[in-house]
Amino acid sequence: MNYVIEARGLTKRYKRTIAVDNIDLQIPEGRIVGLIGPNGAGKTSALKAILGLATYDGELSVLGKSPAKDRAALMEDVCFIADVAVLPRWIRVWQLIELTGNIHPKFSREKCLQYLSTTKVTLDHRVKQLSKVMVAQLHLAIVMAIDVKLLVLDEPTLGLDILYRKQFYTNLLNDYFDEQRTIVITTHQVEEVEHILSDLVFIQDGRIALNCSMEDVQERYIELICTPEYAGSARQLQPLHERELFGRHIFLFKNANREQLRELGELHTPSVADLFVATMTGGAS
């Protein structure tokens, strides 16, 4: 198996806190991985280490390179959008395209212009004249025109409206993703990415709380919705998590006997958001 990211004992310490605590992580090629965790869980710290933007302890290899030593070389095969609105505000669109083309060996000007032609962004615009959505479209057009092996998106749609957020992920999936590429996404808006993810990694307090593929999620976890009279028997089957909604009880089970549960109520595949809440408050792993 070819791993795009391989971390062993990855640790990031700040003066007083440990942001990433001894993480082991392997991300194979051709996956779309959601790195999900509450604020301050260490997602961004882990990504910064992976991108060579911060120092770290432990072993880390990205596409066979050490991010701490070879950031510049690594960036030929890795792209990232770290949050919206980090494009330099003074630059004009044509300058940005020319510059990226001159620095990035794998940038295709034609592709970039093609993506931009579907937007209202013109070559003569300065970044500071563009709306937030247009800046995000521009950045995505640039990134999608670069033929890299790993794309890292850190809250790529933060502060954008729902129409654009949907379109962002559609473009990414239809026009960009293929078997040779890997995408790592962190986001708060779990619902929007769950149907495009192939793998889930939950991070809590600097540690990995859950790491499995979406198929495994469907296989391992099951959600039971039942009326209050069955709630007692459901509780005896050791659910990971319980909540109440409109007078009905919703239980989350791991590796449960489905035949047994079916007698108590309706069964569903849990949403990533529900799994996330259960993991963060209980311990589903």
Partner: protein, 315 residues
């Protein structure tokens, strides 16, 4: 190499106002001043009744003296460009590694496959060569335009512009000396450039304060401690900076060479070097032991800059 050139180009794009508009404005002011002089000349209360009379007088004056005066005027015209250039480069470097940290665009720059060394190199090269070159080109253009305008006026008033001014003053020699002095100064000023980049990479806010305060505090403390000992100019930080400044290979001030008056290299306050404007004197500074110390200090500052830039996205 392509990447380096692309990054230098980016510096030019970002700093077009400072690098190009500023010298254009100075050139414009020179032209405006000249036009005002020509228009209002007759109203001045002076010994010549008219411009024609003045030109007559100039035409009859000693050719060698006229040649020398024109040469000195040409060189001194560069001084205003040089002073403004120094300010432009100062503030450019002070913001060079600070602005993108402040607006977070550093995250975009770091997503490009260009090393931090290359980035710092491109900024230093822009300060050392790009800005001076643009200023120099505009200085030369300003001089040419002024000469052409003046020639037209001279012709209209019935004199020969070629013998009067155009053939005199060795403009090509003056221009070359100015360009050479700009580049010599770029090397001489490396410790300052290194310091400004270090501050730019370090300052959490207001880089100007971080650039000026430490040397001032250090210098004042030093003065205070040394006060009761032998107080000489060169023994403390201020003195060293003063010497460094006075010895610059930049054409920047008036001086009397013997009994003649003219421009000089640096400020003729010290006798460590000859201050007369010659190529030999510029090279004398560049191959001195002082320059070696300059390079060592610059290397330390730049190494620190690189160290900081590598860690600039932590937090």
């Amino acid at each position: 190499m392509n990447r380096l050139m692309a990054l230098v180009k980016r510096e030019f794009w970002e700093n077009k106002g400072a690098f190009r508009t500023t010298p254009l404005v100075i050139g414009g002011i020179f032209l405006a001043a000249m036009l005002m002089f020509l228009i209002t000349f007759n109203h001045f209360d002076n010994e010549f009744q008219s411009l024609k009379e003045l030109l007559r007088f100039i035409a009859q004056s000693d050719v060698a003296l006229r040649d020398k005066i024109l040469y000195e005027v040409n060189l001194s015209m560069s001084v205003i460009f040089s002073m403004v250039l120094a300010f432009v480069v100062f503030f450019y470097l002070l913001g060079s590694l600070y602005d993108d940290r402040k607006d977070r665009s550093i995250l975009f720059w770091k997503s490009l496959p260009a090393s931090d060394t290359l980035t710092i190199g491109s900024k230093l090269l822009s300060a050392m060569f790009l800005a001076p070159l643009v200023f120099w080109v505009i200085y030369v253009l300003t001089h040419i335009v002024i000469m052409l305008l003046f020639s037209v006026v001279i012709m209209v008033l019935g004199e020969n512009p070629w013998t009067l001014v155009l053939s005199l003053g060795s403009p090509f020699k003056a221009w070359s000396l100015v360009l050479l002095s700009y580049f010599a100064q770029s090397f001489w000023a490396l410790p300052l450039y290194g310091w400004l980049m270090l501050v730019s990479a370090f300052a959490p806010r207001i880089p100007l304060l971080f650039a000026i305060l430490p040397p001032v505090v250090l210098g004042v403390l030093e003065l205070w401690f040394d006060f009761l000992k032998t107080f000489t100019l060169s023994d403390n930080l201020f003195g060293l900076i003063g010497h460094w400044f006075a010895n610059s290979p930049l054409i920047m001030s008036a001086d009397s060479h013997g009994d003649e008056f003219g421009v000089s290299l640096g400020a003729p306050l010290t006798s460590d070097f000859d201050h007369q404007v010659t190529v030999a004197n510029m090279f004398d500074r560049l191959f001195s032991s002082d320059m070696l110390i300059n390079l060592v200090i610059a290397a330390i500052f730049l190494a620190g800059t690189l160290w900081l830039r590598r860690r600039a996205t932590e937090s």
